[in-house]
């Protein structure tokens, strides 16, 4: 496969809300050295940034590795150049979704649940106590969860800015 620099991805990344400044990165790798996801996966924030900067983020989006970020925000906090690698990657995720790349299966369920219930989970879980007794919100005497009062309207509002059902 031949790879071409795609500056449109860089442009799209810049447009997403956030503090991302991929162009300021000088590859010191401080982000990667402290990254929890880098310790347990192939994720390397400095590579995400340089590939975005160079217009080569298509494969990165395709590979799905962007979804390994643990959202700890250390890279954003400590970057000497205020690149905010976290925001670069978050923007890449947004671009990936808008271009039809699939996020992890579990995230698809979470995102779609928001359209149906207003939350990333559909209903409260039944859990087991240390005495092996099954308990629920109801049995614990906890009140019902407040969902958006008109879910159809809520769905309409969030759809208006491009929040779509994922498959």
């Amino acid at each position: 496969m031949q790879t071409y620099a795609q500056t449109d991805i860089l442009e799209a990344v810049r447009k997403v809300i956030g503090d991302q400044k991929p162009e300021a990165c000088y590859q010191c790798m401080k982000c990667t050295s402290g990254c929890p996801a880098a310790k347990v996966s192939d994720y390397r924030p400095h590579l995400m940034v340089i590939l975005t900067k160079a217009g080569l983020a298509e494969e990165v989006m395709q590979s799905g590795i962007i979804w390994a970020c643990s959202m700890c925000l250390k890279c954003k906090e400590y970057c000497p150049q205020d690149v905010a690698p976290f925001d670069v990657v978050t923007a890449l995720k947004n671009v990936a979704i808008s271009r039809g790349y699939k996020p992890p299966e579990m995230l698809v369920g979470m995102a779609n649940s928001v359209l149906d219930y207003g939350y990333i989970m559909d209903k409260p879980m039944t859990i087991t106590t240390t005495e092996f007794e099954e308990v629920s919100r109801e049995s614990l005497g906890l009140p019902d969860i407040a969902h958006p009062k008109d879910i159809e309207k809520f769905k309409k509002f969030v759809s208006s800015f491009g929040y779509r059902r994922l498959s």
Binding site: I17, C72, T90, I127, T130, L142, I145, F157
Partner: protein, 289 residues
Amino acid sequence: MYIFLGCTTPMKQYAYELSIRAVFPRLGIEIVDMPDSNCCGTPLMGVNRFYNVYAPARLMAIAEAGGLDIVAPCNGCHLALSEAAFMLREKKNLLEQVNALLKEEGLKYSGKVKVYHPVEVLYGLVGVEKISSAISYKLPPLKFACHPGCHLVRPSHIGRPEKRNGKLKLEALTEAIGLQTSDHPEKYECCGAAMIPYSTDAAIKTVAMRIKKFVEGGFDGVTTLCPYCFDMIDGKQDAAKTITGDRSLSIPTFYYTQLLGLAMGINERELGLNLNMSPVGSVLEKLRR
């Protein structure tokens, strides 16, 4: 004030909710369940970044209409709400965009609502002194590791409840009820929860490293005020043992509000102390009066 519970706490972390509901009113903090609520957007930042501004703004507008401030017990929700407030103060066009949407529901965001995390309510509004006098007995000086969780500390430029240097508010609160705290090398590290959708294996390996340090540090227990961190540290110890093969990965884990409630003499079931998944039994034995 309104309590906005988010997703994890009311869907499965009942011990956190129970212990807040038990402790707060007894300390003079009246909590009202927030109506008409939605997901704060933090877990969905990557799916739609604007949702993560609109969703918390909607929550704050609902609170504004009700005339109450918000307490958000989840670190992720607290981040979403405070970051949105920061952005909407800085970026006029974003504010206009959000308010145009909110207007259709008769809502308006104007930035009046204050957003608190329980650590701020307890440390700032109630205060260490009042807590020391509100407890019915001092817990024994067992050594506890306080785990604030990433989003209580970062990103610091928007102002976060905890700072990275010096003593944590959570540590001062823990000491106020008689327990001992001590520094530990991974105090500001990540629990790995947000990695779960990508890879459960990676997430468990991450929390296993945290648990290992708690064990090596000779701590009697861990305490936190984040439902995601708690879910990982308390709930994933068996998985951590299985994945790493390290049988030593075991540490009693409590919500701070459970420990506080215990010291206030509140019934253990009311604090959800039978819901912790980590082996709390022997430590609980020592903590009882």
